[in-house]
Subunit: 166 residues, 2 copies
């Protein structure tokens, strides 16, 4: 039974009071995103900036257009995002090979250092968020979520909240 199955309250029905999997996912997910945003702000980064740095780190040297498409970010917003990271010396645009008309994106040395700091923040975040679970249970949770993500055809490593707004 899910929370929405009944209008009559029943005390002590923990499934009712906490809701179904989809409600809990939305609730815990929003909490996870908000806490990550707070933590990453300590590095003077916005979540979309961290998301792009991560994507360049994992798959470097693609064209700006390729990253923008993957993130689902409109071109003009994407340029603003890259400009900010370039101005801070974290990312550089290089003429692409084989197509020299396109700029490929790479992390600078400072960008790689920043990724390591993001990594430390990410680990602290993961540990704090999953404190209630042991290692086996965390792996179980990751597996269940990854299967939902795959079946729902979500893009690996990209989530809507990381898309730059305005």
């Amino acid at each position: 039974m899910q929370w929405y199955d009944s209008v009559v309250p029943e005390v002590g029905n923990s499934e009712r009071s906490w809701g179904g999997a989809s409600f809990l996912l939305a609730q815990v997910g929003a909490h996870a995103a908000a806490r990550f945003k707070e933590r990453i702000a300590e590095l003077d980064l916005a979540a979309p900036q961290a998301g792009l740095l991560r994507m360049i780190a994992v798959t470097p040297g693609l064209s700006q257009q390729a990253y923008a498409t993957r993130l689902g970010t409109p071109p003009s917003r994407f340029v603003t995002l890259v400009d900010g990271l370039e101005a801070r010396g974290l990312v550089e645009r290089r003429r692409g090979e084989p197509d020299r008309r396109l700029y490929a994106l790479h992390l600078t040395e400072a960008g790689q250092q920043m990724m390591r700091r993001i990594g430390a923040v990410g680990r602290a975040h993961e540990n704090a968020l999953c404190e209630a679970l042991n290692d086996t249970e965390r792996a179980q949770l990751r597996d269940l979520l990854a299967r939902i993500a795959e079946q729902q055809e979500l893009t690996a490593g990209v989530h809507p909240g990381y898309r730059p707004r305005s």
Copy 2:
């Protein structure tokens, strides 16, 4: 190893490509919330309206202030939210007992019918979202998420995305 542990890409590392539990939670959670919002819009409801109807259904007859506090909604926004539901005949304000200065909120007959329609939408949403999992795995996922929610001190049945904005 989490996605943020390494800057060097490794093809075929599914944990890297999908990210840690916290990233997946944020990603799948945002997807769940967005899909629910779309589905519930078919009933001409906004997610915060559905959230309040549900809260009144589960715990009816509290004062407006009590619901507002639980939802974390500022009083003025809360009044607007209730006004909208009252205008549609889904909710009614009644003089409270024992304190007749306070208005208590109740679902009308139409409000209870709407809750049943929300229930049907919620079940369809849950089934579509969790299509990749069998019943045992869904229960497992609910249990893991509920433990995180409890340890993180989230309020049962309330999530930030359901709070009315503006």
